[in-house]
Symmetry: C2
Subunit: 430 residues, 2 copies
Amino acid sequence: MKKKYNIAVVGLGQIGSYLLNELNIKKKIIEVKTGVKINIVAISAKNIKKKRKFKFNKKIFFSNPFEIFKKHKVDILFEAIGMSDGISKKIVEEALNNKTHVITPNKGLISKHGNSLAKLAEKNNVNLEFEASVAGGIPILRTIKEGLTTNKITKVYGILNGTCNYILSEMENSNQKFTDVLIKAQKLGYAEPGNPKLDLNGFDAFAKVRILSALAFNSKISHQKCLMEGIERIELDDIKIANQLDLRIKLLGITELKNDKLFETVHPCMVGKSSYIGNVNGVMNAVITEGKPVGESVLQGEGAGPGPTSSSLLSDLLSILRGNIKKPLGVSFSNLKSFKPYNVNNYTNSLYLRFVVRDKPGVLSQITNSLAKFNISVKRLIQTPDKKNNKATIVIITHKTPEINCRNCLSLLKRNKNILKAPTLIRLFD
Amino acid sequence: MKKKYNIAVVGLGQIGSYLLNELNIKKKIIEVKTGVKINIVAISAKNIKKKRKFKFNKKIFFSNPFEIFKKHKVDILFEAIGMSDGISKKIVEEALNNKTHVITPNKGLISKHGNSLAKLAEKNNVNLEFEASVAGGIPILRTIKEGLTTNKITKVYGILNGTCNYILSEMENSNQKFTDVLIKAQKLGYAEPGNPKLDLNGFDAFAKVRILSALAFNSKISHQKCLMEGIERIELDDIKIANQLDLRIKLLGITELKNDKLFETVHPCMVGKSSYIGNVNGVMNAVITEGKPVGESVLQGEGAGPGPTSSSLLSDLLSILRGNIKKPLGVSFSNLKSFKPYNVNNYTNSLYLRFVVRDKPGVLSQITNSLAKFNISVKRLIQTPDKKNNKATIVIITHKTPEINCRNCLSLLKRNKNILKAPTLIRLFD
């Protein structure tokens, strides 16, 4: 067994520089825990002069990360640049081809190129580790790959984006509308200051769902198109009405096998206020796994930030230092399954529908007639007048209804001039 | 790397026979996941004729488990007899001395003899794995040893006994008293039919606390005497009053480092009804870890039963089959720390005290005077008369108070003839 491992860290943003500091201060404990030494031989970033929270050794700095391999035999490379393509992909490929283990928190890269990178890692008999790519400090990938390894997992779901969860919780707590809370989230560092879109539209959570499915179902990472909705259209009214109904709105990522078809989704859900998932608030993440024979397992923790992310990056490091050579996707690439996609039209849920309508006779019956036409049966209906503005709000909770019926119904209702804006639809979570 | 592993299962009770069946039906998937084959070469139990749920191959049955080693080279032995000494200890020692990996769900054995067994395993360069010994199907030991490995963990606590948690939940739900709910739990198989004492008095949870501490704090398993209280003295009145106070009673196992002193406890706690831990109900287990930099991590799942237990036993098996040779207690035995015990007298909590008193003037002031004498300040007081029986119930919630003051105060109050039975004390959890 090797006694000393050469390490390179590429990317010195918030994550990379925090990690580098952790590596420096934890050298001794890492040696005690693994029996081997680590030696940081190279670091790289775009700009050596950028102001960073932690100091680093400028003598080992490379402006061009590809030069690292010419000068050093690198055993383990941390990729912390964070692009889903481009230089992130190239440096990871270069490393794997050089028989260098790779550790990355990069969900974009793994969800997009995880299959080819896993194959490449396996070919070179090195590890490609990405625990930090899903749910930050929660060791959910390790739990699925190792802790629950022989269980038949049928469903994994959870709160996978702390930004969205913070915004939804804060709208409820502060009674403020989406745009105001978003600004607050940006100030607190919970949302990207420039472009928070990838968090808010569900894309970030979706990348994590892709990775979770592959590990849970021993399959390749899917690239099928699937249902993805974010929280941008959630209004304070929806939060308030949910509250009255003893419900709470959460953005859930869900992956499950339905009749051996893969169904991956990200969308807002109404969940019971007293349910477990309904009580995961603020920036917390939570992942729930349903498997046999283990039953339901829940993992909850901080889903983002340099501290939790470093915790996962270092767990990957120690796994390698302890000599655990593993298949990146749990089983050998040739044994990975591929699943056909589940037909989203068959997705069946109770629905919360909110209509803002002109307050005049007959509008309600126009809506209920349309629902009836598409076999959507109403479980609960609340109409609240807004006399001053000559408007009314109609909230309908339906019985379970297939997605296709509700889409068809809503596209018909869109043409109704008495409905003043596109209706809000939120699925109720089972 | 070995291509075929010989396996023996010793003990064919509920756990052992379920495990054996799982091993048989999952041979193929285990081979896919690890690249190696398993071969069950020997099984052993006291009585070959006992009625069991699953069939087994009688040709490989040994009445005397020690004979197994004479006939076979066993690579991995499952110990599922379940005694904390005696034959369980002997067969595990025999196996380790034979350079056989050992996997066991036996918390009694590990909490009592884990140190010497870990040393023996390390000496023979084999694994001693016991994931299933704590919190059944929840991979908490793996999470601490691997997923959170470089974090500085300061506290681990949780609901570690499903029997007690079921009883407390069911008392609340059904409004039935302790003894009635215990009978129900026994009928449902949630409590031992013969002697449920080790669950109810906190001993079972305490063994798990011992194991958790060692892994969380990289120390030897402690054998220090410490605070252990069960749920036998919880009455329906306490459950009802907790409910009125928006609290709920849970039996918590807690281990923490306080000023570098080890403090391990098991006792009932009042927790907030809307807190996370207050919503882990029924037979579920949950473990919460506080660490830096990861923050708070929560794991929840089924804590007992053959399914969840097998899930953990097989995760240990696959870890060995994948070639992960590990130190049983996370780090090398010679690097394990030992901590001095925290002085329990300094344990400081808000307290719930319930007194049943004679309903006559002056009794309340006798109690409050005693509290004042020991510097225990009252936060809340509720007196409820029971005129018919000439009694009254006095419930007091105190401000934070050191354990020593409350003990001294209660021992003084014991002598008071107007207090009709030993007061109930339940600590409020921070």
